[in-house]
Amino acid sequence: MADVVMDRPLPLDPPLVEGNPTYSQITDDVAGIVERKPPREWYAAISVTGLLTLALGISIAWLLYKGVGIWGNNQPVAWAWPITDFVFWIGIGHAGTLISAILYLFRQRWRTSINRAAEAMTIFAVMTAGLFPLFHTGRPWRAYWLFPIPNLDLSLWQNFRSPLMWDVFAVSTYATVSILFWYVGMIPDLGTLRDRAAGLRQKIYGFFALGWRGSAWHWNHYEKAYLILAGLSTPLVLSVHSIVSLDFAVSIVPGWHTTIFPPYFVAGAIFSGFAMVITLMVLARKAYRLEHLITINHLENMNKILLATGSIVGYSYAVEFFTAAFSGNPYEQFVFMNRVVGPYAWAVWTMFFCNVFAPQLFWFRKVRRSIPAMFVVSIIVNVGMWFERFNIIVTSLHRDYLPSSWGMFTPTVFDFLTFFGSLGFFLTMFLLFLRFLPAIALSEVKAVIPAPQPEKEGE
């Protein structure tokens, strides 16, 4: 009977965890990462990312002292790399919640090995993204005016017609719910860590474990809360990047003013988020020898999603061009011609190659299951998605309605420092997460391995 088979893994399905580990082995493997001294690679990595974070700090300090003019932004390209970086990081922050919430609701049990790290990545990506709209404002010390705090001095009430206001709510809601979802999901594992630790560590883990004792009531509440948060997060996965896309779509700038942006941005965000998860997971599973928990099957599944979303993104590009040609709007037509043959054509062709052509390799099973291949492709996709945002922002702005105002954008050293610094900040946060928190959801992984049970008679 079909519905009976549904609940149990098909015999043909590859096992979700390899090597048939026991519960305690899994606990040792995962908790051990936190409890043991980190491997040498960890120190090497954090010293590099720490240095980059320092560069970010220095460039932000200089920015606060001098002004946003230290970047290359200009007229007409008033938004440039900072907003490119913002959208890039917000996009990265999409995979985590998608894996955790949507795949949870769809009962995709293979998500368990990767969801924790993906969620952490989401949170760090959103944090990193949040830096950009804040510091790219002309007067960052006044950026709190974007929040609807009643302000009698200026009799200022925010303009809710502005997509930037929607952005503030969308991103802050997403960040809040993501953190809650991540934290609630982590409570049982924090309890495990507390039980294995001693001294100050025990106190700290104990504080955050919120008195978890693993009773049936606890599990009951936990499961309900988790389900509710998954339900709450699901629409957010779609809404955040839709709203971010409206920053562009609501404007009247040719190349921005287009209705396809919300779905196109969401697909692109999932695409880039999965690419980043693959990049990080490939490295982490190797460094911490977690190949049996994060199996090649997990990675292959993610590659399939990469192929699917990459194709959606490619389709969106095609639709954009078709719409421009079909609209009869000469400004719109010009922008798209300018993208492919104008001075920034190299950027758009880089984007096409990275986002549309590179993932097509995943039609081949061999490539999907090859660690080096997927690592390279995931990096290519990350680069391509950064260029997608660059193309949307810079090539649309640099030549809009009045040819007299056309100009070029040239990044400064601070544009580079800020971007690579933000990469360093993100990775530093991720490395600290690996060091101090359970990178794999222990309780959930245990739920997907065959439970020890007495053999039934007659079988």
């Binding site: 001098k66 002004g67 946003v68 003019g69 230290i70 290359g72 932004n73 200009n74 007229q75 007409p76 390209v77 008033a78 938004w79 709209p133 790219h136 404002t137 002309g138 007067r139 006044r142 950026a143 005016w145 974007l146 200026l154 200022l156 009430w157 925010q158 303009n159 017609r161 502005s162 997509p163 930037l164 206001m165 503030v168 920053d247 609501v250 404007s251 009247i252 700038v253 000469p330 400004y331 037509q333 010009f334 011609m337 300018n338 043959v341 104008g342 001075p343 054509a345 702005l397 030549r399 809009d400 309605y401 009045l402 040819p403 007299s404 105002s405 056309w406 100009g407 070029m408 040239t410």
Partner: protein, 993 residues
């Protein structure tokens, strides 16, 4: 206590009389009886009493007398209300000729310069140079003290040295002066020459326009000043003459010319302008027919037009017929780069066309002739005959003809005394440097081109130790009056008749002295003399070939004197849009021939002299001719101007002040970064500047609607109700605008707009609120050019407003798109969403390091913006508010039409900008907007701009247009380009054309 105040001391009690401490204590307490009862909380009566007393005492606070006087004026001067500006008439002198100005002063310091409507050279307009000259007053790098051999000294020490330097008969004394029309300075000069009869005098102006006067000497036997009336001329032929730009005192010319360009409807007529020139000038951009010639080609054309030469181009006959059809209503003018013989021929042609006394007449010249030349001075220096050289103003060590080698020869003079506004190249070579007063801080007078004299009255006491040329000369020669005020006043009081005091006050008030204009002079043409000169000219043209360079005044720094003026350095050149630089302008074909492109440095050589200048490939430049702007490459001028651009004077000799032939050019193998404010020069077929021939306009009066008509789309948003009493709007007539930049600088001064420097302009961060978009149409080698002033269009459905998260830009009930600086957090979304890209962002703290004295130039009515906020044109909202407040205090209900003028409108010499209340159907702006040439840019976006444009018209000669299409080689242009004609034409380079 109060003993000191009153004479008699009264006492109330013996205790008080004896002054016991107890009594004093008792007296000291405010409520002797009640104070101790304050501790009891229950006494309602007392509480009420205390409250009553408190209120009573509270009233006493207002009885206090002010302890400090906060206004340093014991008595308020008449008419002075703190915070309200005062306006004074004065005059600015460039090249010896005056432009009348009205200067606005706030609390005793001048802040804004405007034209004087009563002055014949201004007629209410002010040029970009005049507008910006106020910055020179507050220039902290200005010469501030007397220097003796480079060390600080004083005027006293100098006057002690005078007897030795100027021995009695004046033997070996030379004076090198800027030419001056000033009558009072003329009197001092005569006194000086009487006192030192053997002294020699040289007037030198590197941008002298004396060729036309010499031409008149040939043609009429006398050195006479031509006076033009362009408003009467229906057909004008400008021969290498940028009369709308730099080649005649242009404000008056533009005003007059624009009269023939203000076309009300399709039945109106319009003047016709032919231009033959080498560099693409703004006059060439206005032309209905423009012909590219080498500078030397003007002579051939003049000869041919006068019927004395052959080999005329195909169009000359058609031009001649057109001129002849407009006898007495036509005008031929030649530029100052052309030799006297060409001018003589031009006077001959005008005489034959019956134009003398109609569109051109002659008067006495306002500038006296120079007794000696710079060459004579150089020879005397070389011979060691110069004991004392007094240089009155100017910078001859920098700008004198190269073959005079003045800079080197100054060492051979006994003593060089230099009076100058800056410690410049000449000051460094002088023994004595004397600071020259700015015209806004010193008394003087000067004549306009037509002879009208004005008193130049100061608006502020000299900021430093500066004196004028007249005062210096008076000091040296022992003139009876020593102070500038006395010199000027005494001179004029002697000449006034009737109520002299009244006449003097009137002269100061009006800015002009009535009855001082020169009367026209009867002239008789001497054909023989002209023929003889023509023959010589024809002979000199034989065998001339090779590359030619022509020297032009810089629209920004003039002859170099404004090099330390940041506003002018950052003002884009009208045609090239270059900022902070000059360049060698080459036609695309010449550049190809020489193997260079924009940014390559070119080495120009002639007669052993050479310069290196970066190339800028300029469409419309004549092939085989290089245009060079003088005045750049200053070495000692100040922090702003030092080392900006390239000095081209070393190539310019006394014989080649206009242009030089036989120049060799070779790439220097270096590159140099040139920066422009506009990188793309074609309209891409977009209906931005609409243009048609007047013929096309007559057959299709609604050509504008055909080009931009769009059905009215709906808006998603509710918009504020814009039906109030005042609704501000603007209309700009593209047919009148010459692209001269006066509005750009006026706006910069009025609105405290920052300059950002070459590096930041290269990044695209210039701050100008109004810009002059210049587009080329037609063939790249020989294009037409159009200008379009673009400031904030004050959209009714402003796309910037709905994207601002903090409502920092929002709509006023009067239809203004207001910008609230202190609300702005700087997301810059508004700028992205502005289809006109008129918003300007303070990327860095542009005003952060403004030196103290420069802060005096700020308009106190306008906020000085900090870093991180957006700014843009406000339709001069401070002027609107000022007039509204004024109307209210005067108890008026209505503001009159034309009462509020924006800064750009006020200074526009072409009267191309009209501003006013569009809610009033009778206002001028409403009337102008009703014309059928009126359109708004990008109407299809439904942003409903309040600024509209009147389409440009050209008036080509139908005969010539036909000839051109039959192989003349010029791009014809009939009607506007259809929108979207070439949306796919994309230039792959960042530079564009």
């Amino acid at each position: 206590m109060a003993n000191e105040l009153t004479g008699k001391h009264y006492w109330r009690s013996l205790d008080e009389l004896t002054g016991t401490p107890e009594f004093r204590e008792w007296l000291h307490r405010e409520f002797p009886e009640g104070a101790s009862e304050l501790t009891s909380p229950h006494s309602r009566r007392r509480l009420l009493k205390l409250m009553a007393a408190s209120f009573g005492l509270a009233g006493l606070i207002s009885c206090r007398r002010p302890e400090e006087r906060i206004l340093p004026l014991a008595e308020r001067p008449e008419d002075y209300i703190p915070g309200n500006p005062l306006y004074y008439a004065t005059a600015m002198t460039v090249g010896g000729l005056a432009t009348g100005l009205i200067v606005e002063a706030h609390d005793g310091h001048p802040t804004k310069i405007e034209g004087n409507p009563k002055h014949p050279a201004s007629l209410g307009a002010a040029s970009a140079l005049a507008q910006a000259s106020i910055l020179n007053l507050y220039d902290p790098d200005r010469s501030q003290r007397v220097l003796e051999n480079g060390r600080p000294s004083s005027w006293e020490r100098f006057s002690q040295a005078v007897p030795n330097l100027f021995p009695a008969p004046g033997e070996g004394v030379w004076v090198l002066s800027e030419p001056a029309s000033s009558p009072s300075l003329g009197a001092v000069r005569r006194h000086f020459l009487d006192r030192f009869p053997r002294a020699q005098w040289v007037d030198y102006d590197p941008l002298s326009r004396s060729a036309e006067l010499q031409g008149a000497r040939i043609a009429f036997g006398r050195r006479l000043q031509p006076q033009y009336d362009f408003s009467k001329a229906e057909v004008i032929f400008a021969l290498d003459c940028d009369f709308l730009g730099v080649d005649v005192p242009s404000l008056r010319a533009v005003k007059q010319f624009a009269k023939g360009r203000h076309v009300e409807n399709e039945h109106d007529s319009m003047n016709r302008l032919y231009v033959a020139e080498s560099a693409f000038s703004i006059t060439g951009a206005m032309a209905d027919h423009r012909f590219r010639i080498k500078p030397s080609g003007a002579a051939a054309l003049a000869l041919a037009l006068a019927g004395k030469g052959n080999g005329a181009p195909y169009w000359l006959d058609i031009l001649r017929r057109d001129l002849e059809a407009h006898r007495g209503r036509s005008l031929v003018v030649a530029g100052p780069r052309q030799p006297a013989a060409v001018h003589a021929l031009v006077w001959l042609i005008n005489a034959e066309l019956g134009n003398l006394g109609e569109t051109v007449w002659f008067t006495e010249p306002p500038l006296p002739p120079s007794p000696q030349s710079v060459g004579d001075l150089a020879a005397a220096l070389e011979a060691g005959e110069v004991k004392t050289l007094l240089i009155l103003g100017g910078n001859p060590a920098f700008d004198a003809p190269a073959d005079a080698e003045l800079a080197a020869r100054l060492e051979k003079a006994g003593t060089v005394i230099h009076l100058g506004a800056e410690v410049n190249e000449t000051a460094r070579a002088a023994h004595w440097h004397l600071p020259e007063a700015h015209y806004l801080e010193a008394w003087g007078d000067a004549r306009a081109l037509d002879g009208t004299a004005s008193v130049q009255q100061p608006l502020i006491r000299p900021l430093y130790e500066g004196k004028t040329a007249a005062e210096t000369l008076a000091l040296v020669s022992g003139y009876p009056q020593q102070r500038g005020y006395d010199i000027v006043r005494t001179y004029w009081m002697e000449r006034f008749s009737g109520d002299k005091e009244r006449a003097w006050r009137r002269a100061l008030h009006d800015g002009v002295i009535e009855g001082t204009a020169f009367a026209p002079v009867e002239v008789a043409l001497r054909r023989d003399a002209v023929d003889a000169e023509a023959a010589k000219l024809a002979a000199s043209l034989e065998g001339q070939s090779g590359l030619e360079v022509a020297f032009y005044p810089s629209a920004s720094v003039w002859d170099g004197r404004f090099a330390n003026n940041g506003w002018l350095q950052e003002m884009p050149d009208p045609m090239t849009k270059l900022v902070w630089d000059n360049a060698a302008l080459l036609s695309p074909a010449t550049a190809r021939e020489l193997g260079v492109e924009t940014g390559d440095v070119l080495r120009l050589e002639r007669e052993g002299r050479s310069i290196e200048v970066p190339v800028y490939v300029m469409p419309g430049q004549a092939d085989g001719a290089i245009a060079l702007e003088v005045g750049y490459g200053r070495r000692n001028v100040g922090r702003v101007g030092n080392g900006v651009g390239h000095d081209v004077y070393p190539l310019r000799t006394a014989a080649t002040m206009g242009y030089a032939a036989g120049v060799s050019a070779s790439p220097a193998g270096r590159r140099y970064k040139l920066v422009t404010t506009q990188e793309h020069h074609v309209m891409e077929g977009r209906p931005l500047v609409l243009e048609a021939t007047i013929e096309h306009y007559r057959t299709e009066p609604d050509f504008v609607d055909q080009a931009v008509h769009v059905p009215e789309p709906e808006s998603l948003y509710e918009h504020p109700d814009l039906t109030g009493e005042y609704q501000w709007g603007m209309a700009i007539d593209l047919n009148a605008c010459t692209g001269c930049n006066a509005c750009l600088v006026a706006c910069q001064v009025e609105n405290n707009i920052a300059i950002v420097g070459k590096k930041e302009v290269a990044r695209g961060r210039e701050m100008h609120w109004i810009r002059l978009d210049r587009y080329f149409t037609g063939d790249i080698a020989d294009p037409r050019a159009v200008f379009q002033p673009v400031a904030c269009q004050q959209c009714e459905h402003a796309p910037c407003e709905n994207v601002c998260p903090v409502a920092a830009t929002s709509h006023s009930p009067e239809g203004l798109n207001d910008m609230v600086y202190n609300r702005c957090v700087g997301t810059r979304y508004c700028s992205n969403n502005c289809p006109y890209k008129v918003r300007r962002f303070n990327f860095l703290d542009w005003h952060g390091d403004v030196p103290g004295v420069k802060k005096l130039v700020f308009n106190p009515d306008v906020t000085v913006r900090m870093r991180g906020v957006m700014e843009k044109c406000t339709y001069c909202v401070q002027r609107i508010q000022e007039k509204k407040i004024q109307a209210k205090t005067e108890g008026r209900r209505q503001i009159e039409d034309g009462e509020i003028v924006t800064a750009c409108q006020q200074t526009c010499p072409a009267d191309a900008i009209v501003f006013g209340n569009i809610a009033d159907p009778n206002s001028r702006v409403s009337q102008v907007k009703k014309r059928n040439r009126d359109y708004v840019m990008l109407a299809e976006l439904n942003v409903k701009p309040r600024t509209s444009y009147l389409a440009k018209l050209r008036n080509p000669n139908p005969e010539l247009a036909l000839a051109e299409t039959n192989g003349g080689g010029h791009a014809s242009m009939h009607g506007p380009a259809p929108p979207g004609a070439s949306p796919f034409r994309i230039l792959n380079s960042a530079e564009g054309v």
